[in-house]
Amino acid sequence: MKKKIGVYVCHCGGNISDYVDIEKVKEAVKDQAGVFLVKNTLFACADSSQKEMVADIQNNDLDAIVVASCSPKLHVPTFRSVAERAGLNPYNYVQVNVREQGSWAHSDNPEGATEKAILLVKAGIARAYESEALTPAKIPAINAVAVIGAGVGGLRSAIALADMGTEVFLIEKESSVGGHTAGLGQLFTTNIHGEELVANLLSEVKKRTNIKLFTNAELVEEKGSIGNFDIKIKTGKETLSLHSGAFVVNTGFDSYEPEKGEYGFGESENIITLPEFKKLIDTSEPGNLVFKGKTIHKIAYIYCIGSRQDLEGNNKYCSRFCCTAAIHSSILVKNKFKNIFNFHFNRGIRAYGKQELLYEESSKNSDIYLQFSLDSIPQIEKRRSKIFIKVKDILTAGKELETDADLVVLVTGMVPRKNDDLEHLLKIPVGRDGFFNEIHMKLRPVETVIDGVLIAGTCQSPKNILETLNSSMAAAAKANSLLTKGEITLEPTLARVNPAACNWCGKCSSACPFDAIIQTDYEGHKVAKVNASNCKGCGMCTPVCPFDAIDLAGFTNAQIEGMIDALAES
């Protein structure tokens, strides 16, 4: 039982204090059992506040601290570190969420938000009161990473990891590497060819003896946790067992496939998708552009196909790369072939950053840009074997304009690739847009909540090649920094058996999916014992014990029931 608890209530720069009456909270909790001091801070996480906490702990011999601020997702490591620096065991620190689950969730009811904050802080104090000092164990970590997917992202992740001294298993489902890029001709920005880029990256991979490339291979089994994953991959008829410390998922995207009838797709052979168009211009001989026996002069591009489906459809996001890709293609086609006229039917051109210059170039090439909105989309009509596109053009104050076109290019976006098996195996969370979900969009864009599973490239969100490379190398850097020390520190919130209360019925052992409970001798009778290196701290074993002889450190009966009692108070 703790006797000197320090309680810090954060304003969070107004995010909390604008709704929760901080003074009222302080007043209400100061007399709780064990509380020694109660303070408020503008930003608990700021360096000056942290310094103050360290000083408070040291000067007053505080034996526990409670920080009532934002979600534990953000600052648990920060405040655990504060405790450590002050000489306090980090598991004697409790985080209370009075922002996401307090001021923000109940911003419509400041009185209610304050009442709830008071009880949440009291519960935090009760938990701290019953907290115990816990010491994390360290286990050896394998400095090897399984990179899943050998498109340009995966190839680059592998090269980066290898150069940093990590062993790489590069696992590619198809028979060849390079993903979508391998089939692309000139890429925007540098005009290097996709095949060339892939060939360069592949040759770099081959130079590095610590990268093992498996093609026609898929992950079929996965066990273990960060630092120690036992995986099985299937290549053709063989199944191989490998050991890795982490995963970098580089599984890429799928191109949106328009529905039949969507802007005439599938109803006329001269209506094709952007990838099909790119292939056409990359592989055709210069001179006249010919498609299905017809010479092409007028090309109409219809943008945002399968993306920004604001009214109907699941893809509410912008696919990011396509405005630039379409414009770049329109410049290439004009440079390579004779008498080309480009008409861009768009919903606002998003050629962001330096890519703006391509938009400028295409405009200088006399390309015509027409803008539409979703409530007045371009109408495709076939008249006398010609395709006509009519639109109410926003840029000319809604004038109805029409052109015929020899070829219509539907500028299709990226959709999340179907990866059900992988998702299932690695338990990668999926966001609302269908792409893999990172822990924190701003600060931790390549990590997931599953320790040791990193996501990179377009499987995380649509992006272009440069962005994919940056993201892949960032994931490689993170993976390497986790494994390079050769050991991983385990969370000590593991299961524990009270041997005096145990009668070895075996129920906990059967409940454990990780073989972490074994039988052992204790004072002449058989009892259960937890093997710390296998225990994942899930607690599945704890409710099944008929004698309540097993609990989870950090989630003891005293702690949880103490919290329940505090929250139930009226």
Binding site: C12, G13, N15, L42, F43, C45, A46, D47, S48, Q50, C70, T78, R156, A160, D163, M164, G165, L187, T189, L197, K316, C318, R320, G348, I349, R350, Y352, G353, K354, E356, L357, E360, I394, A397, G398, D433, H440, M441, K442, L443, P445, V446, S461, I465, L466, E467, L469, N470, S471, S472, M473, A474, A475, A476, A477, K478, N480, S481, T484, K485
Partner: protein, 436 residues
């Protein structure tokens, strides 16, 4: 460790990271976690770059300070990172063995760092009042000052150019930390590699006369509005400069200084559509009765969660008007009249607003290239640090062993910066590991 005594004998580091904004911090932290010894220098008196001065970030609306301060704190504390503020690289010479000899200039704070407790007593007695650059001139500060509330290190400094040398602060300081005898220090170091993370410059809209910035009091920049919205804000409410009125008809002018050949910046700054939308959402929260009109060319809401964020702002009532503002004129009461071609109607229109916010763009910041003495750190045609192998090694520069991270390469938002910084860490680490 922060502002450790780096002695004038030559010290050895694996990496010199120039710039301690979010890019420099992220690269430094990744490399430090890998076990390398990092020297991180920052020319301002505090680390955290532009990010620490923001209000909230798009599209999550996390408070910028909340997500920056832990990174800043981690950087300042990391045992493998030596951090020097008010320090610039003066010369970098590449040696024949591939390493770099660097001379740093550490500007004096005139405050003894270890003794300053951040109490701010000195500020109360200083008689000099000047514009506060960290509040983007919205309010004033003293000549002796703590840069801002959540500065790291939270140590005072004296703006010696404006200081009267009256000594009042010296007398008042309870820790006797004021030291007028401090001088600029030259520090020599040997490093194996360099990461340039010098960030971006903000476009100064004084160059667009017809928008009236600098002439009309109620035309402000988005950075100034950002400060008004930030938790460590100068005022308790959103106020307009001419008379302190709380505005209720606010206008945003997008693409100020971007996509504009006439001011020498033809490219898109990538973040302004989003940050303006974010500010609009925050304003609609802070001033529920205010009308917010955003005059745009295109809405570049392309990133993860961006389009949804933009639709949300529209749902909340933000008025997006397609049309480039031709000119701004001022009325006697301080209100502004915006003249533009309204694309929807095809007609030249005028609208009156009581506050105009210019969505200023991001510019290249290539000053660092002058520091490289016997080698050329090349820039591209837009003055950003050149990435010669863009699609294979985006963090590499024209100099072997020198890498680049973040907005020093191109305009980009925070997640893109973090990924670019991670890439720089990966490439630097790979480079260091293959050195003999």
């Amino acid at each position: 460790m922060i502002d450790d005594k780096v002695n004038t004998e030559v010290a050895d580091y694996d990496v010199l990271v120039i710039g301690a904004g979010i890019a420099g911090e992220e690269s430094a932290l990744k490399l430090a976690d890998m076990g390398f010894r990092i020297l991180l220098i920052e020319k301002e008196p505090s680390i955290g770059g532009k990010m620490i001065l923001l209000s909230k970030v798009f599209p999550t609306l996390d408070c910028a300070a909340c997500i920056t301060t832990p990174k800043v704190s981690e950087t300042a504390r990391h045992p493998n990172i030596t951090l020097l503020t008010l320090t610039e690289a003066d010369s970098i010479i590449k040696e024949s063995n591939g390493s770099f000899s660097v001379i740093l200039k550490k500007h004096p704070r005139y405050v003894v760092e270890q003794d300053c407790t951040g109490c701010q007593e000195c500020e109360t007695v200083c008689p000099v009042v000047v514009k506060d650059q960290f509040q983007f001139d919205l309010v004033a500060r003293k000549a002796v000052y703590i840069p801002f509330n959540i500065a790291n290190p939270r140590i005072a400094l004296i703006d010696i150019e404006n200081c009267m040398l009256c000594g009042a602060c010296e007398q008042k300081c309870p820790s006797h930390a004021i030291d007028f005898t401090q001088q600029e220090e030259a520090i020599q170091v040997q490093v194996k590699s360099v990461i340039v993370a010098t960030g971006f410059k903000l476009f100064d809209p004084i160059h667009i006369e017809r928008y009236g910035y600098g002439k009309f009091k109620n035309v402000i920049t988005s950075m100034q509005m950002e400060r008004e919205l930030a938790p460590t804000r100068p005022f308790n409410n959103i106020l307009r400069p001419s008379d302190g009125k709380v505005p209720d008809k606010i206008a945003y002018i997008f693409c100020t200084g971007s996509r504009d050949h006439t001011v020498g910046n033809p490219i898109c700054s990538q973040v302004c559509c989003m940050y303006s939308t974010k500010q609009a959402q925050l304003l609609m929260g802070a001033l529920p009765l205010a009308d917010i009109s955003l005059y745009y060319i295109n809405i570049r809401a392309f990133g993860k969660g961006f389009n949804e964020f933009y639709m949300q702002a529209k749902d909340m009532g933000a008025n997006y008007v397609k049309g480039k503002i031709a000119s701004v004129s001022e009325k006697e009461n301080g209100n502004l009249v915006l003249r533009y071609e309204d694309i929807a109607s095809g007609r030249v229109t005028e609208n009156e607003h009581d506050l105009v916010v210019l969505s200023i763009g991001l510019l290249a910041n290539p000053e660092i290239t002058k520091v490289f003495k016997n080698i050329t750190l090349e820039t591209d045609t837009l003055n950003y640090i050149k990435q010669p192998d863009l699609l294979q090694s985006p963090a590499s520069t024209s100099v072997k062993g020198v890498f680049v991270s973040g907005t020093a390469t191109a305009p980009m938002d925070i997640p893109d910066t973090i990924m670019s910084a991670g890439a720089a860490a990966a490439e630097t680490s790979g480079y260091l590991k293959q050195l003999p």
